[in-house]
């Protein structure tokens, strides 16, 4: 095994293979920076090149691309409050307030170093877990995946603070938006109002941009200032790196979350940032929690360390089972087929060196990606000092163009505008948008897995040990939330009486 790992490293270190890796990294960084574009677009761009390369170079290029998207997508999330791609939605909640306080460089430094650590952690875990991954992946059938979707939904409670009712309603709204389109179990089109556009549902890109990007643009325009409220660029990126080192255990825990969520096919990476954001909230003492959502550096570190780690997790089912965990992995799978390689358990015997090329590419891509992003962070941060009215039309241009790539239909424009208005009103009237987004992302998965579970196992799925374990985790997570709530209320009352 060590032989294969070292020979893969030797192959990757040749100028040709390194060059392809760096080319992939560049494409990935560019796609990450552009809001709304994600791994699927990147894979589609690079796929035509694949037949001209040898297998190692193709792996280096494709994995290099996909590995750094969650690194550079932090730029728009932190600097403009716009999700760079679906894996960095939660980064907005604290990254953007930091930028507005003039601490964009610090937020970016923390985010990039957390991304790097998450990515490297993921590569290490991938190496260690490969020999034993098969039984673990197989232990997760539909019932367990359904419970995982529920675990994701339970984060709504954590994110809703004292407004639990509003949080639940918002989540319900998201769940209902997710039911638009074809039903998973039977051929029925639900809530489509006879618009052909709605048959496939509203694309996640459009919902993400609508709920978060458009409202932010409008609000910043209304205020008519610059993004950063204070003059100067604030503390440097090095402070952010130090913050990441200080919170190293948080980085490790969230990286582990990232790998686990990434490697379960079917859940996909779209919720991993929210799950780790919920995790950091839950594990922070109540008294220390008030700053979240207003610019707490831990709220940047948590999602950023998990979203890079998820990419290595996502490679496990793709390589070992030929089951892609996400859209970009599905196209990557296509690339593997084009190279004449059959993904599956045989990869570990016949193509072990390629598997290690994937691992090494992940590690190197994360190092290069972080390096480039840190170099870019100081100049790009200057954008927060540009009057927003000059910046706004360009941002609108990019999100309109990105939203149109959703389905290339006029419906994307309409959906972007309508979800944008909804997001703006929700923000204005104090309804938590993260809850709606989590509900939307998990709706389809929760419903599909529930149906498959019931049809496959009737009600005996409730007796599976995995379901019990996950149920216990959910109960603990919700219970802890309720406990903190009542605790806080009591202590709040106590203070009130004292004065």
């Amino acid at each position: 095994m060590l032989d294969a790992a070292l020979s893969a490293l030797g192959t990757l270190l040749t100028p040709y293979h390194m060059g392809m890796l760096i080319f992939g990294v560049m494409v990935g960084l560019l796609i990450g920076i552009l809001p709304g574009l994600g791994g699927i677009v990147g894979m589609s761009i690079l796929l035509p090149v694949v037949p001209h390369l040898d297998a190692h170079a193709a792996f280096a290029m494709l994995i290099g691309m996909v590995a750094v998207i969650p690194t550079s997508d932090t730029f728009p999330s932190v600097l403009m409050g716009i999700p760079g791609s679906s894996g960095s939605q939660a980064t907005i909640l604290d990254g953007f307030p930091l930028a507005r306080r003039g601490e964009a460089a610090r937020a970016l430094g923390a985010a990039f170093s957390a991304s790097l650590m998450g990515g490297l952690f993921g590569a290490v875990v991938l190496t260690l877990i490969l020999p034993i991954a098969r039984p673990i992946v197989l232990a997760f059938a539909s019932p367990e995946l359904f419970m995982l979707a529920l675990l994701g939904l339970s984060m709504v409670g954590v994110l809703s603070g004292r407004n639990v009712l509003k949080g639940l309603i918002a989540a319900g709204l998201g769940l209902m938006m997710g039911t638009i389109g074809a039903a998973p179990a039977v051929t029925v089109y639900r809530y489509t109002f006879d618009f052909p556009y709605l048959i496939d549902g509203i694309p996640l890109v459009v919902v993400g941009l609508g709920l978060f990007a458009l409202p932010e643009i409008i609000d910043l325009l209304i205020k008519g200032t610059t993004i950063s409220d204070v003059p100067g660029l604030g503390r440097g990126w090095w402070d952010g790196v130090k913050a990441t080192i200080e919170h190293k255990w948080l980085v490790l825990r969230c990286s582990a979350i990232g790998v686990i969520v990434g490697f379960l096919p079917g859940l996909g990476g779209t919720v991993v940032d929210w799950i780790s954001y919920g995790h950091v909230l839950q594990t922070t003492p109540e008294a220390d929690r008030d700053n979240f959502g207003k610019g707490d550096i831990r709220g940047v570190i948590a999602p950023e360390s998990s979203n890079n780690a998820k990419e290595s997790g996502g490679l496990i089912p793709t390589l070992l089972f030929g089951i892609p965990g996400s859209g970009s992995m599905a196209i990557f799978l296509g690339g593997i087929f084009m190279l004449g390689i059959e993904p599956g358990p045989g990869m570990l015997n016949e193509n072990l060196d390629l598997v290690y090329t994937a691992v090494w590419s992940l590690a190197f891509a994360n190092i290069f990606g972080t390096g480039f992003c840190l170099l870019l962070s100081q100049p790009i941060t200057r954008l927060t000092r540009v009057p927003f009215k000059t910046l706004a039309p360009f941002i609108i241009m990019i999100i309109v163009l990105a939203a149109y790539q959703g389905t290339r239909d006029w419906g994307d424009f309409v959906a972007l505008l309508l979800t944008g208005i909804m997001g703006w009103l929700m923000k204005r009237f104090g309804w938590p948008r993260p809850a709606a987004l989590i509900g939307y992302v998990l709706s389809d998965k929760a419903e599909s897995y529930l149906f498959i579970s019931v049809q496959r196992y009737a009600f005996s799925w409730l007796l599976r040990p995995g379901v019990w374990i996950l149920g216990l985790i959910i109960a603990l997570s919700v219970g802890a939330g309720v406990f903190w709530q009542t605790h806080r209320r009591r202590s709040g009352e106590g203070e009130g009486k004292g004065t």
């Binding site: 603070g161 209902m176 029925v188 163009l401 149109y404 424009f413 009237f429």
Partner: protein, 164 residues
Amino acid sequence: MILGVIFAALLVVVFAYGVYESLDYPLLAQVFPFWISLVTLVMAVAQCVTEARNFHLRIEDVQADFVDLAPDRSLPPDVVYRRALGYLLWILGLYAGIWITGFVIAITAFLFSFLRWEAKLNWPNALYLAGGGFIFVLGISWIMTLHWPEGLIQEWSELPWPLG
């Protein structure tokens, strides 16, 4: 705050429709949306009543006590709504432009006019930046093989790339 009540009431309508519409679906398609919208409907009604009771509260008093970006309450509401409507019209204008002239022409015109009249840049700067945006769109679309929506003009006539 009357608008907060209206927003909550709108949600009640949405979920009520969700329940009503799901009644027509076959059982397997019905279970999930029916129960979700029914449960959420009950909660939305409760929330609507709460909002109506707090009718006298001003929007400044509504604290976003949860994890989301905090709304800015520094401007008076009428200014906020007037400006929001103005920017909504800008975006609708862009959409109308795309519908008629296609994406490339419309976005360039949008960039220029927004920079000139909203951001109050002078003519040369607005032209220069809009031109930069035009080139950026062409470059990025070429590299990433992005698609643009076509407008009526493109339907009626054969324009050369990038206009067509």
